[in-house]
Symmetry: C2
Subunit: 337 residues, 2 copies
């Protein structure tokens, strides 16, 4: 049994400025002040995810690499982050619990107040063996964990990228009242793919009210497809998005909106950021962005993320994050009874 790397406890507090991370800043950027509290049982895992988040423009409140847990463990840290004002959602990477029963109770307790997204590795016996070499933890039965986490109202991340994808939506967006999702896009293909993903994740395509459809149709070109997915087509500018989004955000048949922005198309200018920020302020309804591309897209990703509008590089990821919002909305109702 070797416990080398994880011996070291790393702490990063974006608000107080405490930073005990060894990696130099040219290798690992530090995230801005943000709303995600992050607990990791692997230091290098934490470093890589934080570096990614910082570059995307996603902020963090506190990061704690819990090392080999001589003094404090994930249960203590969950309790701490539960009461941390800056933390709106908690992300956890865990190889094995030190105190299983206490963890379950704490997760269930915290879930009443804040969403917790947890990535538990060690699903296979091969990985469980690897865990015993890495952190010396007992990985435990994967099925047992799965049931425990579900009962506690914890949102399961299934891979490394899920962890912040889901936490980011939960930290920044309001919870939906239902599971009827509207897609608004300037590219037909991505609209179709988003539809497939929404259905796959067990949500429903919203059926906008007839009045909503008519209102939009009266204001935008007839060649756009005002339905769901709503294809504003390739020459859509920010104004067309604004008309469409303002209407669907007000529609009671719509619980949440996935906006697809393909910045490669010339009509879409940077003022789309203002449009989305203003919508976020006016409507208490989740709005997630799907956008993919190169540098020009990356610039807009950072702008949006800094305004608390989560972005996703694929329709599937956006749908998965929306599903986490739907799931946590239900969990809150269940646990508060």
């Amino acid at each position: 049994m070797r416990i080398i790397g994880p011996n070291v406890i790393g702490i990063f507090d974006a608000y107080s400025g405490v930073d005990t991370i060894f990696s130099p800043r040219y290798r690992q950027k530090r995230p801005d002040q943000g709303a995600i509290g992050f607990i990791s049982q692997s230091g290098a895992f934490g470093a890589a995810v934080m570096d990614w988040a910082a570059t995307q423009g996603i902020g963090v409140s506190k990061f704690i690499s819990i090392g080999n847990r001589i003094d404090v463990d994930e249960v203590d840290m969950l309790k701490y982050l539960e009461n941390d004002r800056e933390t709106k959602a908690i992300a956890v990477y865990l190889e094995g619990a030190k105190r299983g029963r206490a963890l379950f109770h704490m997760l269930r307790h915290v879930a009443k107040k804040k969403p917790v997204v947890l990535l538990k590795s060690g699903e296979s016996s091969e990985a469980q063996h690897a865990i015993s070499s890495h952190t010396g933890s007992l990985a435990g039965e994967a099925a047992l964990y799965k049931g425990m986490l579900k009962q506690a109202g914890t949102i399961a991340a299934l891979c490394s990228e899920d962890l912040f994808d889901l936490s980011n939506a939960l930290a920044h967006q309001p919870l939906p009242r239902g599971d009827t999702i509207q897609v608004v896009t300037n590219g037909g293909g991505f609209g179709v793919l988003a539809t497939d993903s929404i259905v796959k994740y067990g949500m429903k395509m919203a059926k906008p009210d007839r009045k909503t459809i008519e209102k939009i149709k009266s204001k935008i070109p007839a060649y756009a497809s005002v339905a769901n997915p709503m294809d504003l087509v390739g020459d859509a500018d920010s104004e067309r998005y604004k008309i469409a989004l303002d209407a669907v955000m007000q529609d009671k048949n719509v619980s949440g909106v996935i906006v697809i922005l393909l910045m490669q198309l010339s009509a879409l200018e940077t003022d789309i950021v203002n449009v989305l920020v203003s919508l976020k302020k006016r409507h208490e309804k989740p709005l997630l962005v799907c956008t993919t591309g190169g540098e020009f897209t990356a610039m807009h990703v950072r702008m949006l993320e800094k305004e608390g509008i989560p972005t996703y590089s694929s329709p599937k990821k956006a749908a998965h994050a929306m599903k986490a919002l739907v799931e946590y909305s239900r969990t809150r109702k269940r646990l508060s009874i």
Copy 2:
């Protein structure tokens, strides 16, 4: 039925320089000369994916947005790319086939020579409805397509990001002889996650020969974990990777290698690129890299991609790409009988 965007046929030939894409280059970067031939039934989808690929350093041979297919369709383009010297793997985004039977025969024919990765949208009836608005295609039964593609030896992409993730591995890496995979890492957590993903994708964790293990152990610090996953731990430099990788690449028990590079850790310098390029030249065995992070990582991603070493932002994606290599290796054997 509206067929607006996809009316326009877009062509990009990285070798001849032909470029009929409307999007300006500051919005959509053009990929370098490369080995992936890309056929898309959605222009905007193609634009977004190409922009992403260009920024990653992934090259393309030809890109054809087939529009509304008045003259040529996906079957013709597959035939064309089959005989295109620069194209080593073909990526296809399809909403609905124009000539189903001809497509099946062409896919099966091409698969004997070159791998084809295909993303077929329209799994749900909701998405099928959206497709009829977008390209006016008949989406067809999802289950029917699934069976057809499998029989034809086509590799299925399940989301937008899969398409180039899988094509990239198939275009640049040799096919594995079996399905036993070795993981080499400088971060324990990512090693565990890669193990979970390898098992999930139906492959096996390789059991390196005792001699391989001993050879590596004799040359690197005792606190490293020489197993599978092989955790070279946080202070691993390029030399330690070289020793480990050179040994496992020669091991007959190992069919393919996933190398995890966490560039946040200070000991790992840029000369790791040379190590991997040199290994690629000396061994006829697939090697895929998993690396995630910010700008410093992105710089290394571009270097590796330009050398034909595919990189993945998560262990799951790397394992999925390795699975595509394993699958196509089997397909080649099956179809050549």
